[in-house]
Symmetry: C2
Amino acid sequence: VQAVVLRGTDLVVDEVAEPTPGPGQVLLEVLACGICGSDLHCRHHAKAFTAVARRSGLSLFDFDADRDLVMGHEFSGRVVEVGPDVDAVRPGTLVAAHPVVKVDGRFRPVGYSNERPGAYSERVVVEATGVLPLPDGTNPHHAALTEPLAVGLHAVNESRAAELGSAVVIGCGPVGQAVIAALRLRGVPLVVAADFSPARRQLAGLMGADVVVDPREQPAVDAWRRAGGRGPTVVFEAVGVPGMLDLAVQAAPSRSQIVVVGVCMQSDTFEPTVAITKQLTLTFVLGWSAAEFADCLESIGSGRIDVSPLITGKVDLTGTPAAFDDLANPERHAKILVLPGGAT
Amino acid sequence: VQAVVLRGTDLVVDEVAEPTPGPGQVLLEVLACGICGSDLHCRHHAKAFTAVARRSGLSLFDFDADRDLVMGHEFSGRVVEVGPDVDAVRPGTLVAAHPVVKVDGRFRPVGYSNERPGAYSERVVVEATGVLPLPDGTNPHHAALTEPLAVGLHAVNESRAAELGSAVVIGCGPVGQAVIAALRLRGVPLVVAADFSPARRQLAGLMGADVVVDPREQPAVDAWRRAGGRGPTVVFEAVGVPGMLDLAVQAAPSRSQIVVVGVCMQSDTFEPTVAITKQLTLTFVLGWSAAEFADCLESIGSGRIDVSPLITGKVDLTGTPAAFDDLANPERHAKILVLPGGAT
């Protein structure tokens, strides 16, 4: 099959081995695969990804950075073929799917693995138990947003935002937008968002933020107070560059929770005394549960979450390397979908 | 009255104004006042204390470092005189007391204030509502440990240690010892502690740690695993020097909680990616509730917590400056009590 291969820091379209579904697995024709910020990072910091994964004892980024890698873990598809022992999934069904397969009884990533290629490819193999049929009438391109939305929903579910009644979202890239959508889905009354980019601020309003500010003009927590925010709140750090944690700690109201959902690949520095004086909680989140993934697919299908504003570009496999470069400009793009069948 | 005055970074015994109880307040003869690690820090970093308090919008360290300061906030005493509108407290009663008075309806600190001197003094004024009679037969010297024990109990109550069934305590200074005692009080089945100092390790065993290690010989989390620890746990960071947070993040098992109870006055650096990959929670704690304070006094009075091993020295006011210096040596001391009536 044709796929976009990460080779060193180059992305090249190349022919790779046809994936075949083993027992309990399903082969999908990829209809759409979103380009994730983690993939942008991974392109340039693959060795750092694997080093940190090794240090933390987890197998999420489970690959050899010196070998070819096919990324892509936010996708929808059509079932082409099912492996042995698969009864619940039928060929032809449109689906979203967890980017995993089972190896020796354990779920392992698809896309951040040399052996288990991801969905920047014409076809991908996934575990049948993680395959969810699209609700009737769901646009398969929208369904590719299920995974990144689930990341936002998980962050919100791990937070006290519903209990405290408000949230401040720092950074309105795709992760911040997913958090905003999830805060709306959970009915949090006051959602304040901040980003330097005018395009991202406009998008934050479309996704449901009540107040959106340029932090150069008005700090987010000041805007939250002006909008009636009182007491503790939840600050979502969705930027992921060094210094943001310190900024969040300095800005957060006393007894607040800071949820770190932006992945910062470098070391970061902050003042523990400020965090202690304010009695802050820092919650570091990653991933999502099966229930959260299903909840997001259902919300997309029913229109409770409208993801269409987030999709700012569509490319075919050949256009994917350039799309990676384009995503560096926050004014032009939020989420670009790779359509291996052609960008139409 | 005679008091130990912090003047710049010097501690001098000097005559200060006789404190007088206002409405709702009580004058105590100080029987014993523990020297707190925060006081040691404050002696050398007073301006940093007040700067961080100002930045975080709190009034805990509410003083002008260029003026005289009488510290001391861990004390027991005998009621000498009550102010107007005080009915519940009688002269002669032996008590422990919250180190606070009310100003304009708000509780404000005693000891970290130029206007509200603390208990390194013959007498101290406190709010009557924070005064608790000692349980019959309680040694007033032991009762002076109520406040630091309450800090440990609060840290444990804010943690998931009881739910998770185990804890790892990094650092066995007075704060770490209080955490160990509180973990035992709360019935946490497995308590592992680590410190470089042999004397502190011995003390940790006396206070209730099941396993105590020298981290140069065996990392604390390794010892926890060898003792049967599985899954997530709670790591208490009770050292408070730069680098400890990174160490705790690197060492903590996946999905663990790190409770930061050691105050680190400098900036600290760590790797957010590791915390994200492990989905850690960092909880920064400070202080205690009235219920926790009362619980600790009751536990000291009933003997459920034996604090006597923690008391490694007693000095009078004149001996206090030297005691501050002595506390730098972990082999010699845990808690030194200042006895303004004479060290006998």
